[in-house]
């Protein structure tokens, strides 16, 4: 069965083709069957393959399908590589993906572009699977760009609103900046190591480069560029919040569970390279830390339900980066998985809320939904708990591992540790701020919901995801063969207690503000400092403002002033000169015989002067 690993991306790809070629002429239920079914098939296949693979006890498995191109030494192929890492990824993608597809069959039921939606989704799954299963970086890049494209398409799914289009393009272009860096990294790796097959490349890198080698640093940096772009980390994080313009299942699938974690996957996949470049690895950790904190602060100030979740995603990926940066590869991937569960859950639940409220996304226009939307409520509850690493939820285990690993690191380890804890604290606050505001208090909705939106196809996935969010922490993922045995870190019980307590304190503070209303936000906001901070954080630390001024406006300005193309002007000048010369020289044709004779005489004089005198 392992031989058939190529079926994994093929099913959704076929689904995509079927949906595109019929171009909306199929009835919705058939579309749903094709759309969700293809991913389901993939998941089934993936599950069987996973079982076989684990049973076989092999470290890895390669399936070569065909040689993509063979140009000199450059011979990437359509080859699939399966090991623990890709196994986890593939299961998450197909599993969570299938659930979200399921959910979407209900969520999108009223949308006229139903078929289009599922075709994109299927394409996305196919591309994402290529990304994680490809055995070489070019194939990975194919998936990488493919998911980017689908992300673009789905963010801009409701295209009539230009803002959505803007968000979509922003997402694509910003990530493309990272992608380009990554492509350059590929070029560098090929130029230096002569192959882009990941395993061969890593092997060669180990042989050729010592730790700290400049080329290794450069290559790692460039790959990191790609990773931060895709995973919305500093400094390319600005696109993610805007990406929430897409339908909510998209946010769940692409902008929470799978695609945005591709950067994490990439770094984990090429971890040997990063180990050869410790400075870059350290940078990964710093990026993770800073991003998680920044995002946490921003999330505190947001009012859009999906944006809050988006910043939270950013923040959680920061944790993963932090894990990678401190060398806790498995922990990073583990958190990736659990995060996929609970963040998908949160997003899907928020989708139910939004639909039930007739597309209302402002949390301050919700409230008191606990009774009306029970499934959503429980989903949110479990999701939020997992997100804030409430003990024994899935998030708890993964975050725990990360923070312990950070704690164990020499040098800045403690900074990472406390930073991570602070992040968890913020997580507690903003997550439950959202939770309390939406589900408790008074209803401020313009159109209060009559009943919860969604049938079994929406609630089923939610329930499954709730379970996964709760128990996901107990999954043992087979990563040791990939990353080697990681050393066990330990922290003192005190520290451990501290780690557990801080998020709870955060929840408590949140409860104090928003549930018990002991403290008042209004009072807090009275000070100008708070207002400034709020404004600053609300705008995402002004990154958009800055980038607009540094990159976008100058580009637009250049485009505006040189629309007519400077170079063309040069040729126009030549034409003008010719015309001027013409109008001058035509004046010599006066029509007067004597003038003509004079010119002859002048010609004689000049030519004799030239001929005789010179």
């Amino acid at each position: 069965m392992q031989e058939f690993i190529w079926l994994l991306p093929t099913y959704p790809l076929l689904g995509f083709l079927a949906l595109v070629l019929t171009s909306g002429r199929l009835p919705k239920n058939i579309v749903a069957i094709i759309g969700a079914g293809s991913v389901g098939l993939s998941f089934l296949t993936a599950a069987i393959i996973a079982a076989q693979f684990l049973a076989s006890g092999e470290d890895y498995f390669v399936k070569e399908v065909w040689t993509w191109m063979a140009v000199g030494d450059f011979t990437p192929g359509f080859n699939f590589y399966l090991d623990g890492l890709s196994l986890v990824m593939m299961l998450v993608i197909t599993g969570v993906g299938f659930l979200i597809h399921m959910y979407a069959t209900g969520y999108m039921a009223d949308d006229p572009s139903y078929s289009r939606f599922f075709s994109y989704m299927n394409l996305f799954v196919a591309a994402m699977l290529m990304l994680v299963l490809g055995d070489n970086l070019v194939l990975l890049y194919l998936g990488w760009e493919g998911v980017g494209l689908c992300s673009y398409l789905l963010i801009g799914f409701w295209y009539t609103n230009p803002d959505n289009g803007y968000a979509a393009r922003k997402a694509f272009v910003v990530t493309r900046v990272g992608d380009t860096a990554m492509a350059l990294g590929l070029f560098l790796l090929f130029a230096e190591l002569g192959t882009l097959n990941i395993q061969d490349m890593l092997h060669a890198a180990e042989l050729e480069w010592e730790v700290g080698n400049g080329l290794a640093v450069a290559a790692a940096l460039l790959l990191l560029g790609g990773a931060v772009g895709k995973s919305a980390q500093l400094p390319l994080q600005t696109w993610l919040p805007d990406a929430m313009a897409g339908p909510t299942p998209i946010s769940a699938l692409i902008h929470a569970a799978t695609m945005v974690t591709a950067g994490v996957y990439l770094i984990a996949r090429t971890h040997i390279l990063f180990e050869l470049a410790p400075s870059v690895q350290m940078l990964v950790a710093w990026i993770g830390l800073i991003t998680l904190l920044l995002a946490g602060f921003i999330a505190l100030t947001q009012s859009d339900i999906k944006r809050i979740l988006a910043f939270s995603t950013m923040s959680q990926i920061g944790y993963m980066f932090l894990a990678l940066g401190v060398g806790a590869w498995s922990a990073g991937i583990f958190h990736l998985m659990t995060h996929a569960f609970f963040k998908a859950l949160l997003f899907l639940a928020s989708g139910s809320v939004i639909l039930s409220l007739h597309h209302e996304q402002d949390i301050f226009k919700m409230g008191a939904l606990r009774k009306k939307l029970p499934v959503s409520f429980f989903s949110f509850l479990i999701g939020s708990l997992a997100l804030t690493a409430f003990p024994f939820t899935s998030g708890y285990f993964s975050k725990d591992e990360i923070l312990i690993a950070a704690h164990g690191l020499e040098g800045p380890g403690m900074i990472f540790f406390f930073g991570g804890v602070l992040g968890a604290f913020l997580t507690g606050i903003y997550t439950f701020r959202l939770f309390f505001i939406v589900f408790f208090g008074e209803s401020k909705a313009a159109h209060p919901p009559e009943k919860e939106y969604g049938g079994w196809n929406m609630n089923g996935p939610l329930i499954l995801l709730m379970i996964l969010s709760l128990v996901g922490g107990f999954f043992a993922i087979p990563l040791d063969a990939v990353f080697g045995q990681h050393e066990e870190h330990h922290v003192s019980t005190l520290m451990h207690g501290f780690m557990i307590a801080v998020p709870l304190i955060g929840i408590g503070i949140s409860a104090a503000f928003f549930y018990f209303k002991i403290w008042s936000v209004e009072k807090l906001m009275a000070s100008s400092l708070a207002q400034t901070l709020h404004k600053f954080w609300h705008s995402g630390w002004g990154f958009d403002w800055l980038y607009d001024r540094v990159f976008v406006f100058p580009f637009l300005w250049l485009a505006r002033i040189n629309k007519a193309d400077l170079v063309d002007g040069f040729y126009a000048l030549i034409v003008e000169i010719s015309r001027a010369a013409n109008s001058m020289i035509v004046k010599t044709q006066t029509g007067y015989i004597r003038w003509y004779a004079l010119s002859i005489a002048a010609g004689v004089v000049v030519l004799i002067t030239v001929g005789v005198m010179l």
């Binding site: 029509g591 010119s599 030519l607 030239v610």
Partner: protein
């Protein structure tokens, strides 16, 4: 070196042409009949062409000191007589409605051809002058031919006076120059001016150069090279179209053959400053010609200006002849002249066919939409214009290729640069005309194109078009002929 009977055989084309004129004149004397005169002239020219073609492979003799009848001369006699015949054919319908005596026109055309024949076979100043003046004298008459016609919209009188006055002044310069050359070399034969054994003592190179320059200027005027070009557009415009055609084709070609022979025989190009002068004239001609034509709206003037440029191109090949071993540049000049005659005759021919002495269509706007009104004429015209621009599939391209080849071999980079710039400008105005023909607003039917009433003219156009394309695609036969005959020049 008295003339013998055997000498008359090589002179056959000349004699036949002369005979034609005499017969035509006699016929006029007996009874004026326009058609008959035309037929006599055309037939005579045809026979002359054929006789020259017949003689060409075998003939190579100096007939008296005045004329050299080698293959080169005969080749150009063929070109000349054939072109004259074509022009005669164009002239017949053109003049048919002239309200004046029409017969003398063909006499003048015949006499002009005699002059041209003498020129292309001249290697002696006396025959040069006589041939040149015979040609010019007839052309004065041809240019001014419709002078009595009230209906003639053009300015034949003005054109003729301009041509006569300026041409006479140029002749004066030419004669003065020849006299100076003669004073130095002691012979009126074309002969080397370098290292003449009995050079007059104390005579500086400056004298020789000045003399050469004067001769060159005299010829340059006839070739309408800048800065002696100013008469060209006015005379072209004012003349009746067939006369313009004659002036532009035979007038130029014959004169250039003389220049070629003179330059080669005199070895004038050994003087660096003379090379400089010729190069300057070439540059000035190319630039002035093309720039003048740039925004011109009168077809005849455009072609006049473009002929200035084309003569400049030819000069490049001429200059190259000094730097290059072998006959390539002479071949280049020869081929280009042939090409130029074909395409000019064709271009003017199209205009002739649609025009008559009463109404000439010489504004490029007259040709608006010709492509859709008369595709046939438009194709011919486009072919000719593209050939003038030097586009492949036409003879003009091969001609330009020759010139480039000669220029590259001679390493005349500056002149080649000028050539490229000039050609680039040239494209603009040729395409302007072509574009007019492509326009689709045919609301204004400017002229009727009735093919039927002058079938022979159309046949000539067809012949020229075939020549244009065949020589453009497979020039090898003509190239080998020219390769052979060019050896006679050196």
């Amino acid at each position: 070196m008295n003339i013998t009977l055997a000498d008359l055989i090589p002179l056959l084309p000349l004699l036949i042409t002369t005979g034609t004129v005499v017969v035509a004149m006699t016929a006029i004397g007996i009874k004026r009949n326009y058609t008959l005169t035309a037929v006599i002239t055309i037939a005579g020219l045809l026979i002359a062409t054929l006789s020259a073609a017949f003689l060409m492979p075998t003939t190579n003799s100096q007939v008296t000191p005045l004329m050299i009848l080698d293959q080169y001369s005969l080749f150009f006699i063929i070109v000349t007589c054939a072109t004259a015949m074509f022009i005669a054919i164009f002239s017949y319908p053109y003049l048919a409605d002239l309200d004046d005596n029409k017969e003398e026109y063909f006499l003048l055309l015949g006499i002009a051809t005699i002059g041209a024949i003498v020129m292309v076979s001249s290697n002696h100043f006396v025959s040069t002058i006589l041939g040149l003046e015979t040609l010019s004298m007839s052309l004065y008459g041809m240019v001014a031919y419709p002078v009595h016609s009230e209906k003639s919209a053009k300015f034949p009188l003005e054109a003729s006076v301009k041509y006569l006055v300026l041409s006479a002044a140029a002749s004066g310069i030419l004669l003065f120059g020849i006299a100076l050359v003669y004073a130095q070399t002691g012979t009126l034969q074309f002969a080397s001016v370098v290292n003449v054994a009995n050079v007059t003592e104390g005579l500086s190179a400056g004298f020789t150069i000045a003399a050469l320059i004067l001769v060159f200027i005299g010829i340059a005027f006839k070739l309408s090279l800048a800065p002696f070009h100013m008469w060209t557009p006015d005379v072209y415009e004012g003349s009746p179209l067939p006369a313009t055609t004659y002036l532009a084709t035979i007038g130029k070609a014959a004169m250039f053959v003389v220049l070629l022979r003179f330059i080669e025989a005199s070895e004038a190009l050994t003087f660096e400053s003379f090379v400089l002068v010729v190069s300057l004239v070439a540059t000035a001609s190319i630039l002035a010609g093309n720039l003048l034509a740039l925004l011109q709206d009168n077809l005849k003037r455009i072609l006049a200006y473009s002929s200035i440029a084309h003569m400049g191109y030819l000069l490049i090949a001429l200059v190259a002849s000094y730097f290059v071993q072998g006959s390539i540049s002479v071949e280049a000049v020869t081929f280009y002249l042939v090409a130029y005659v074909i395409m000019s005759a064709g271009a003017f021919g199209v205009a002739s066919v649609v025009s008559s002495s009463e109404r000439e269509f010489d504004s490029i706007d007259d040709y608006k939409g010709l492509f859709w009104r008369s595709p046939w004429l438009a194709v011919v015209f486009t072919g000719m214009l593209l050939s003038l621009a030097g586009i492949p599939l036409t003879v003009g391209f091969i001609g330009k290729f020759y010139i480039f080849f000669a220029g590259v071999e001679a390493a005349l980079w500056v002149l080649l640069a000028v050539l490229i710039i000039g050609s680039g400008i040239g494209l603009y105005y040729y395409l302007r005309i072509v574009y007019r023909m492509l326009l689709t607003d045919d609301e204004e039917q400017r002229f009727d194109v009735a093919v039927g009433n002058n079938l022979s003219s159309h046949a000539v156009l067809a012949f020229l078009l075939v020549l244009l394309v065949v020589l453009g695609v497979y020039p090898t036969p003509v190239v080998s002929i020219i390769e052979t005959i060019s050896t006679y020049i050196l």
